[in-house]
């Protein structure tokens, strides 16, 4: 939604533009929380970022259509939910405490449960009844010291089924193990004593044989730890890749032979107050791709692309001649990070630089590189899980077709033909990440994802035929309430 459309929508609500200066703009003296609450009155879409404290259950969700008989399992999602304590509102969406939402599909029925990850931080602040750690210039009077990354680990980014547990993931500290049925937190996971408290990113990649690969960046030293775990989450080996990179690093890639560590064009400004405020885009710094051997974790090559920023990658693979290709959702700069701060104070005005688009990056054997950008706004790229590290034809993303505040649509795109298969949820919906599920013993698969209908103030989970998205959902299950907009999730077949 652009500014004009925003004002039009206010007119629909019976609010004239003359209200705007007093309501929204002349709010400099207001706290972050007051600004958000004022804005929410004018823009109900902001409900997705409302402070959320209640753990809930629902035995049987209202279903539109019918879920296929062979469809059985649990869809887990993670995202920041607790955003306020004692009248203080977090300034950045990244700083909210993680909550796991589980939709369980069984014999055509859908049940629901959500619970907070009982992190060290959550438990300590819950007991105190206030925020103890000042993550982004909150102005707390007596903040507690941050003695390690896990002190402030809010486990709010992704949730991954591993063995007989689910792991709630952040990117700067330990994973938290949880029970897949009860969602009770077991505790921070130590893969071995040498790795206690080491960063474990929120975007592990899983090979066809179930091997779990991941990375973690130690911001102070610039060293990147690379992990190889067996399918049950037991450490096989790890290695260290030394870099001069100290800024945010969210995602990575694997091929059949290599690990790709893709370092965006960021630097750290130590004067910034809080993690997000310290991240700075540097247009003179290339995007760098570190090609690391999967066997011995040695650095084989470094390639460069023009300056840009990416949170997320879909997939990477290598062709017979050694050409490496990977895709990602590319931003021209880091404005998107500011947007996630602006939205916390209710500012929903979109800046054009906060739109990302799918780009295919190619590295030829002679070191030459190429980028191809595809039209349309895309984020949260996913692929069929079995194709991880192998050639994929389609990339599945969410995006917005009408400058939505979050996203309003899902699509798949063929990287061979550019053909798009799209479903637009519409303006009433804020659409979240959609995840691929392979159909047992047959081609194709399902695409599953959540969306928040801000008019109804209810969230839903929808299932699509991944090869015919435009046909709309096969089935949709509705909660009687809404859940906060989150980040990533995964499906566990049962």
């Amino acid at each position: 939604m652009n500014r004009r459309e925003f004002i039009q929508s206010l007119a629909v609500l019976g609010i004239t533009a003359s209200h705007l200066p007093t309501a929204l703009l002349a709010s400099n003296n207001k706290t972050w929380k007051q600004k958000y609450e004022t804005a929410l009155k004018f823009d109900p879409r902001l409900i997705g970022h409302q402070n959320y404290t209640q753990e809930r259950q629902a035995k049987s969700l209202f279903i539109e259509g019918g879920f296929p008989k062979d469809f059985s399992g649990t869809f887990y999602r993670n995202g920041p939910a607790l955003l306020e304590r004692a009248d203080v509102r977090q300034k950045h969406l990244f700083d909210g405490d993680g909550m796991i939402h589980a939709f369980k599909f069984e014999n055509g029925n859908v049940s629901f449960k959500n619970k907070f990850v009982q992190t060290y931080k959550y438990q300590k602040e819950q007991k105190a009844g206030r925020f103890l750690y000042d993550l982004s210039d909150l102005g707390l009077k007596t903040p507690e010291s941050v003695t390690s990354a896990d002190t402030i680990n809010n486990a709010n980014t992704n949730i991954l089924p591993v063995g007989d547990e689910i792991w709630a993931l952040w990117e700067a500290g330990s994973a938290y193990g949880m029970h897949p049925e009860t969602l009770e937190t077991k505790g921070a996971i130590t893969l071995n004593t040498q790795l206690k408290g080491a960063p474990f990113s929120a975007h592990p990649k899983i090979d066809a044989d179930g091997t779990i690969w991941n990375f973690g960046l130690d911001y102070s030293s610039g060293q990147i730890i690379v992990y190889k775990l067996n399918p049950k989450g037991v450490m096989q080996k790890f290695g260290i890749v030394k870099t001069d990179y100290h800024a945010m690093l969210h995602d990575f890639l694997i091929t059949d032979k290599h690990i790709l560590l893709v370092l965006p064009s960021l630097r750290v400004n130590p004067k910034g107050k809080g993690f997000a405020a310290q991240q700075q885009f540097d247009e003179n710094r290339s995007l760098r791709v570190l090609v690391v051997d999967k066997n011995d974790f040695s650095l084989k090559a470094t390639h460069e692309f023009p300056a840009c920023f990416l949170f997320h990658f879909g997939n990477a693979w290598e062709e017979k001649d050694g050409t490496i290709r990977f895709d990602g959702c590319r931003y021209p700069n880091l404005e998107v990070l500011n947007r996630m701060e602006n939205i916390m104070q209710g500012d929903t005005f979109l800046m054009k630089d906060t739109i990302s688009q799918t780009v295919i990056f190619t590295i030829y054997p002679d070191g030459k590189t190429k980028q191809e950008a595809f039209a349309g706004s895309t984020e949260f790229p996913r692929i069929y899980p079995a194709l991880t590290g192998k050639r994929n034809e389609k990339i599945f993303t969410i995006g917005d077709t009408k400058n939505a505040q979050w996203a309003d649509s899902i699509r798949s795109m063929s990287i061979d033909t550019g053909k798009i298969d799209q479903y637009v949820y519409g303006e009433d919906y804020l659409v979240e990440e959609h995840v691929l599920i392979e159909k047992p013993k047959q081609k194709g698969g399902y695409l599953i994802g959540t969306a928040l209908n801000w008019k109804k103030q209810q969230s839903c989970v929808s299932l699509f035929d991944a090869e015919n998205i435009k046909a709309g959902p096969l089935a949709r299950a509705w909660l009687e309430f809404h859940i906060p907009l989150g980040f990533h999730g995964n499906f566990k077949m049962s």
Partner: protein, 143 residues
């Protein structure tokens, strides 16, 4: 000088000299998380010695779950800092992860705690004054 007087004077002198030379620092750790292993503590006199890792003296005390206290004795006048760690596996080393983050409990005098890094020397100072006989300092154990 009669013997009795000599004894009196000696006692008086020794008491006096104790007053000048020997203050005790009582260190209290707020919370040790198990009975395993031991506490290894070092006391440093002045910033230079702290920075160079040259302790005035060191102590080993068995770890006990909960509050722990021990004494550094015979300290002369000056500025001190204490650092200690809970050697849970008895290998006489502060174990760290691959990035150098301690994986065993550690702490500093004056409840000094670092924020995104080690604490500052100035935050852990304990002063033993000219007339100090006994001083106290608390340590906040960080696991």
């Amino acid at each position: 000088m009669k013997t009795r007087n000599l004894i009196k004077t000696t006692i008086a002198l020794s008491l006096f000299s104790l007053n000048i030379l020997a203050a005790n620092l009582n260190v209290t750790i707020d919370k040790v998380n198990s009975n395993e292993g031991k506490i290894l503590a070092q006391i440093f006199k002045g910033k230079e010695n702290y920075k160079n890792g040259k302790p005035e003296s060191s102590l080993i005390v068995p770890a006990k779950k909960g509050k722990n206290s021990f004494l550094f004795q015979n300290l002369s006048q000056g500025e001190y800092a204490v650092r200690l760690f809970h050697d849970m596996n008895d290998n006489n080393d502060l174990d760290t992860n691959v990035f150098g983050m301690p994986t065993e409990g550690y702490g500093f005098s004056n409840q000094a705690v670092g924020n995104f890094g080690p604490p500052k020397y100035k935050d852990m100072i304990v002063i033993i004054g000219k007339d100090t006989k006994a001083a106290d300092t608390k340590v906040k154990m960080i696991y």
